[in-house]
């Protein structure tokens, strides 16, 4: 019922292509995240689904219905805006009741429903407040309650957490996920924050320059990035460019080239899979290098080691025994196994 399908969607703004042949299927009840850098077209797709703009090509299906040319008010798609867009001259409860009044329900049912959603976002007692007298986090909750109250088939969220400070953002993240799971509502969430994407989503779609590069579960996207863009955008990584030219300068590149038997590729090695030790060991790959930088981040410690003229970053738990003794300027060995290498499409 809440499944959203985008087929061959294209959207142009004058000469800039905001969406290039997008094909997506967003399963009913999923928490689906659009992730990508600024200007890659995330908002545009959201607004296409909401119906504020129309695609130049392709079609949008919601459930079994083709909604491509339907007006926004006929779609039953809820949207939470980045700036919340709460109606400034209405109180909290009037904002939440707005969509219910449109549906011409009975007075009693409007009141009951609005109060239920107000309670759901934890704002009991603030019914009569002017929205301008609320804190950022409270405004956020009103915006959620207002969109949820109409019980939409799909909930669209355009960077809803970006206006909150870090602490509040963490709280709202958890609460939002709780609400979504509780209601089982199909949710499309836009962000350019990878942590948000990885922690909350059932599925992630990574965008770049108007195109959808990869879709998959957080684990899939993180562990098997399709190309160097995805690898760099999601999580930290060591990216090696391996080809006949670099093989002449670097013994590691040469070894990798012969091992994989191809003529050129990018290889990604996640920092947490690189071990640093004082003594050499028997891993598939083991290189000698010099520690250039060390930074302690509480739970983890990050080391930058130059080996084979490449700067490797390694992140290990601070409690790993060898970590404490390694100092900047020291000679060390870095090692990683074959299974930690990810060969990327170019």
């Amino acid at each position: 019922m809440g499944t959203v399908v985008l087929e061959n969607i294209e959207k142009w703004y004058g000469r800039t292509q905001a969406c290039a042949d997008i094909n997506l299927c967003i399963e009913n009840g999923h928490f689906f995240t659009f992730l990508g850098p600024s200007g890659c077209g995330k908002t545009t797709i959201l607004r296409l689904i909401a119906g504020f703009i129309h695609p130049d090509r392709g079609s949008i299906l919601l459930g079994d219905e083709d909604i491509t040319s339907l007006a926004p008010e006929q779609r039953n798609v809820g949207m939470v805006f980045q700036n919340y867009a709460l109606f400034p001259f209405m109180s909290v409860i009037e904002n939440i009741e707005y969509g219910l009044k449109v549906q011409k329900r009975s007075k009693a049912s409007i009141k009951q429903k609005a109060e239920r959603y107000l309670a759901m976002v934890g704002l009991e007692g603030l019914e009569g407040r002017a929205v301008s007298d609320l804190s950022g986090g409270e405004q956020q909750r009103v915006a959620f309650a207002r969109s949820l109250a109409i019980e939409p088939k799909v909930l669209l969220l355009d960077e809803p957490l970006s206006n909150l400070d870090a602490r509040l953002r963490d709280n709202m993240r958890a609460e939002l996920k709780r609400l979504q799971t509780q209601l089982g509502i199909t949710t499309i969430f836009v962000t350019h924050d990878q942590t948000e994407a990885l922690t909350m989503s059932d599925q992630i779609a990574v965008f770049d320059k108007g195109a959808c590069i990869q879709t998959g579960s957080p684990e899939e996207v993180y562990q098997n990035p399709k190309n160097s863009f995805v690898a760099q955008f999601i999580g930290e990584t060591n990216l090696l460019s391996v080809n006949s030219e670099s093989a002449q300068q670097s013994t590691l590149a040469k070894k990798l080239l012969t091992a994989t038997d191809s003529d050129g590729m990018h290889i990604s090695i996640r920092p947490q899979t690189i071990r640093v030790s004082v003594e050499p060991n028997e891993e598939d790959y083991c290189l000698e290098g010099l520690v250039e930088d060390k930074s302690y981040n509480g739970l983890t410690t990050e080391l930058s080691v130059r080996a084979d003229d490449i700067l490797f970053r390694s992140i290990q738990l601070s409690s790993t025994p060898s970590q404490e003794t390694i100092l900047v300027g020291q000679k060390v060995f870095i090692s990683f196994s074959k299974s930690d290498l990810h060969i990327l499409e170019r």
């Binding site: 007006a71 008010e73 109606f87 400034p88 707005y98 109409i150």
Partner: protein, 566 residues
């Protein structure tokens, strides 16, 4: 790639065409007609009117006087307005909001009323003047409110508001942390003022100076009534018009307009130069406490005295409206009170006619004004049309043209048939005066509405639609509630500014639409002072009542409108 054609683009462009037709026809075309008239002699192009003007000492002098009056007004009003803004908004001030409201009164009160109140109080046989004479046992009046000093006093009283409003707003927006950090770095108070506070306020001060110069140099009401031998361009323009020397009037108007525009542009460039981008969102300003109790008491006393002197003239008008006109022949001070001035006015349809005329014309100007201002603001704020700058320029143009010039422009444009007058001669008809009111108030109204349209964020409309509201429902429940305070306020603004308007009225009224302000002046010159003051009192209450409604409405909208009310 498929291009979608907007089905409503025909509506859009014909709307824009109508708007531009109006703005060009009733603002630009009249100004151009005046320039053309001033450059025409014996049916051909000629500079002879300008040559005559500049070769005659008596013709030149009023021009010099006008510029002088403009500049002096800037200094006097700047002094008064900036001091008041500091006293009330920079320092802690008891009853700030009441004092603030009272200080804004001269903005809405018709100028003609204030001039007469001053004459009643400080004129040669004014009540204050005579009281002083008796007190000091002088042979003759100690002073007379006339000439350049007289005009300047009235300007100080009516035009300080520009400085007061803009500087007050700038003070409130000042970044308090900058002041604190400067003091923290060891700067002396004087240094903090010169290096921190002044740069913050400079753009506001310059903007106010531009407005004050234009209204000072183009002032007509005060010079025409108490100017005496001090002749300025605006009064000369009326003389030329009365003698039907329209080419000379056109020349004088062109010169006055050019000077206004010139100063306007100079100030604008200067303002742009002193503009700065404040780095981050600072700490909002908190008023400073005057520590020295002596200084504090002196400051507060002076401010309340000023406020008292602002209320005094209005109180005088109301008082005098209850005094029989005939008693002024024998007494300097009112001895008896009566309501006969009012009963007389209300029982004679002839005497009530001016009130009726002004109301009808102000209403007409307000309705048509909205019809023009709403689409103009919409185009300026909400569209990316190429013609947007033209709409903005044309709606703001009357702001830099003195009222007398607007009136002459309208006469020059409509004394012959043109497409803008639907091929009729309009001079002599009653339509010109409301048109003049409209043109004169258009910039203020467009500015007020611009704020409303800026409040109308696109996201509100989208949010409403995504909640299921149809276009019509959204328009009713979201668009109108956001716009309506600005729209009603705009309507009232045109009405208030028009109902007691004097300058445009003098130039454009005729026997069948004599407005209230002209009836007041006639009353005075016919020694029917009581009647004139009864008109004045009605005007004061009406304006006061309507502007209270207007302020209430503007306060309800999220963004501050005060700035746009100028």
């Amino acid at each position: 790639m498929v291009h979608r054609r907007h089905p409503d683009s025909i509506v859009k462009y014909s709307g824009l065409f109508l708007l531009l037709f109006f703005l060009i026809g009733y603002i630009l075309f009249p100004a151009m007609k005046t320039v053309e008239t001033s450059l025409t002699a014996n049916g051909g192009f000629s500079l002879v009117h300008y040559q005559d003007f500049f070769s005659s000492e008596t013709a030149r002098l009023p021009l010099v006087n006008s510029i002088l009056l403009g500049l002096l007004s800037v200094f006097v009003c700047g002094g008064v307005g900036i001091s008041l803004a500091f006293a009330i908004h920079f320092y802690e001030f008891p009853l700030r909001s009441i004092a603030d409201k009272l200080l804004l009164l001269p903005l809405v009160m018709p100028g003609i009323i204030i001039v007469f109140a001053f004459v009643q109080l400080y004129g040669e046989s004014g009540m204050v003047t005579k009281a002083l004479q008796l007190l000091l046992k002088l042979e003759s009046s100690p002073f007379a409110l006339s000439g350049l000093p007289g005009i300047l006093i009235i300007h100080a009283y009516t035009q300080y508001v520009y400085f007061y409003i803009t500087v007050s707003i700038a003070i409130k927006q000042m970044d308090y942390s900058a002041i604190e950090s400067a003091s923290n770095l060891g700067a002396s108070r004087r240094r903090v003022f010169c290096s921190i506070i002044l740069p913050f306020l400079k753009p506001a001060i310059i903007a106010a100076a531009a407005m004050t110069f234009i209204s000072g140099a183009g002032s007509f009401t005060a010079p025409s009534i108490i100017g005496g031998d001090f002749k300025v361009l605006t009064t000369q323009i009326l003389l030329s018009k009365a003698n039907n020397y329209m080419e000379i009037a056109a020349t004088q108007v062109s010169l006055l307009t050019i000077i206004s525009l010139l100063f306007f542009i100079i100030f604008r460039i200067y303002e742009a130069k002193s503009q700065f981008i404040s780095s981050v969102k600072g700490v909002s300003f908190k008023p400073v406490i005057i520590v020295n109790p002596f200084t504090r008491i002196i400051t507060h006393t002076i401010v309340w005295l000023v406020i008292g002197s602002i209320l005094l003239p209005l109180a005088t008008i109301i008082l005098v409206s209850f005094v029989p006109s005939s008693s002024w022949m024998v007494n300097y001070f009112p001895q008896e009170f009566t309501i006969e001035n009012y009963t007389e006015t209300f029982s004679s349809s002839r005497k009530l006619q001016p009130f009726f005329n002004s109301t009808v014309m102000a209403l007409l100007a307000a309705w048509v004004g909205l019809l023009v201002a709403i689409p103009s603001s919409f185009v300026i704020v909400k569209t990316k049309l190429k013609a947007k700058w033209l709409v903005e320029l044309l709606t703001m143009l009357p702001w830099a043209i003195p009222a007398s010039a607007i009136a002459i422009n309208i006469i020059n444009a409509f004394n012959k048939p043109s497409i803008f007058s639907l091929n009729e001669v309009l001079v002599g008809t009653s339509i010109l005066l409301p048109l003049g009111y409209l043109v004169r108030t258009l910039p203020v109204v467009v500015k007020t509405l611009n704020v409303s349209f800026q409040n109308l964020n696109e996201n509100y409309i989208e949010a409403s639609k995504s909640l299921g509201g149809s276009s019509f429902y959204t328009f009713r429940k979201i668009t109108i509630p956001i716009l309506y305070p600005g729209i009603i306020a705009g309507f009232l603004l045109i009405f208030i500014r028009s109902i007691g308007e004097y300058t445009v009225s003098v130039f454009l009224y005729n026997a069948s639409n004599k407005p209230l302000s002209i009836a007041m002046v006639n009353g005075i010159f016919e020694y029917n002072i009581g009647l004139a003051m009864a008109y004045g009192t009605m005007l004061i209450f009406l304006t006061f009542f309507l502007s209270s409604i207007m302020n209430m409405l503007l306060k309800r909208s999220p963004r501050k409108h005060a700035e746009s009310q100028l």
